[in-house]
Assembly symmetry: C2
Homo-oligomer: 290 residues x 2
């Protein structure tokens, strides 16, 4: 872990709130900002530190500025403009974006930050709300090695595996690979479990048996039973997964990758949304198969 430094955390959602908390717990001087100010007030009441009125104010004087918001446009609104983070950041500071966003945005931000001597790291995370709370996120980072070396000890406050994947955008591209691998995997699991039901098998016994072999997956072990139980009020929401898959499919248009099953599963998630399941966990892909 690092020497205590002055940091800012922008965006106190289900991920950012506990991540910023880990920074404070490790002794860093944390200034927070959130679009809805009440959350920042609550955070300071719990963790100490300071709440700022604008992203710029929070970023002023910080060696590292972290943000974790919703999508590309949210990131732009927090970073750019008179009240944006970049306006407050000093030469030599580092901007770290934990939002899952496009690789294009990462390259754009790296270029914009460089103009004022600020380094940029795209650093999307996986591990979900639980990973943020227990400080065990996987963090996939794109950017320059020197900035990564300075930021990593601070990210270790909430990261279990913090890895530099390549230049600006490489963190986002790695997160896309992660989501692509998950989308088709969850659909395959859903088809298998639904088939087991139609076949009259004891679905949980089937999962118990086949999870010992080549069909095993984290999703089977952690979402199989809840899929059988038709329970989806937890986990990673379908609306967010569709946002991520949209980024993957756009990037694939650009780099020429073929994603036939990923594209199809994105459509199945649209069916889940149509069933009212936008906030359900991604394992709700089994719903349209019922």
């Amino acid at each position: 872990m690092s020497e205590p430094v002055r940091v800012a955390f922008l965006g106190l959602g289900v991920m950012g709130y506990p991540m910023a908390g880990h920074l404070a717990a490790h002794g860093h001087q944390v200034t927070v900002w959130n679009r809805t100010a009440a959350k920042a007030t609550a955070w300071v009441a719990q963790h100490g530190g300071t709440a700022a009125a604008t992203a710029r104010e929070a970023a002023t004087g910080a060696a590292l500025v972290f943000l974790c918001v919703g999508n590309d446009d949210d990131v732009r609104s927090v970073v750019y403009g008179a009240d944006g983070a970049l306006a407050g950041m000093a030469d030599g500071a580092i901007l770290v974006d934990h939002t899952t966003a496009s690789a294009d945005l990462a390259r754009e931000l790296a270029a914009a930050a460089a103009k004022t001597g600020v380094a940029f790291l795209d650093a999307p995370v996986s591990g979900g709300q639980a990973g943020a709370q227990n400080g065990k996120l996987t963090i996939m980072v794109g950017g320059e090695a020197e900035a990564f070396a300075r930021a990593k000890p601070v990210m270790d406050c909430y990261g279990r595996a913090v890895t530099l994947m390549g230049p600006a955008g490489a963190g986002q591209l790695t997160k896309m690979v992660n989501q692509i691998c998950i989308a088709g995997l969850v659909q395959a699991l859903a088809e298998g479990i639904a088939f087991a039901g139609k076949a009259g098998l004891d679905q949980k016994l089937v999962l118990d048996v086949i999870s010992k072999g080549a069909a095993q997956s984290w999703q089977m072990e952690n979402r199989g039973t809840t899929m059988v139980d038709d329970t989806f009020n937890f986990g990673f929401a379908v609306d967010w997964m569709r946002k991520d898959l949209s980024i993957c499919l756009s990037e694939a248009r650009r780099n020429g990758a073929k994603l036939p099953v990923t594209a199809l599963v994105d459509q199945f998630y649209a069916q889940v949304q149509a069933l009212g399941g936008g906030r359900w966990d991604t394992s709700s892909l089994i719903k349209p198969l019922g």
Copy 2:
């Protein structure tokens, strides 16, 4: 493990040959039969026991008759007819089919066997050639509990997890769920790895990082690196996977299960076959994405 008994093993392919070997190594009196007699001669030279000229001859006097052949028609040709296994089996003996075949065939064989007082278990395996060789197969069994209780201690010679899944056909149906879960999962992994390549990422580093989280799977851990290396001359052949998926898709027509991604992946395997990859490992799904 069981008291030594007299058993027969019919079909000495890449799976049956080592499975029968484990029976001999555990002290059972094994009579083998194989369509190509030379393999049976070689097996006896290695393991002792007896080679029979016909399936009927091998089955005569055996308490348990195991078979492991190619497909439904192969099973019928070994079990039925004047030289078939059933003609030699005594009242009270048990016929155990380790072939991955249809659930309909399992029900048909159970009925045919019952006419002569023979019990039938459908018992497809997973774990591949390596699992057969080291005696650590997962065995999914359909049939009556009494026959299962008698056969299980003998199957434990080569099974790590031998589970009764339900009545005749339930073993085959469980194996189908296994293959359904694998098909879409491997395609998703292939799309992810191919995307990583098009995105200019270090594919092995990506796999190392994302295999710690929600995208993790046995396939990612055991086939990811070889997919990156474009190596497919091992493992479970595409031709056999297509046979298994054909069984899954037929059964789904009957029970009403929806298998959109499984059906699509079956078509991608047809593309791999068209590329000359019928004998390649199932992870060759990445080939048409190149």
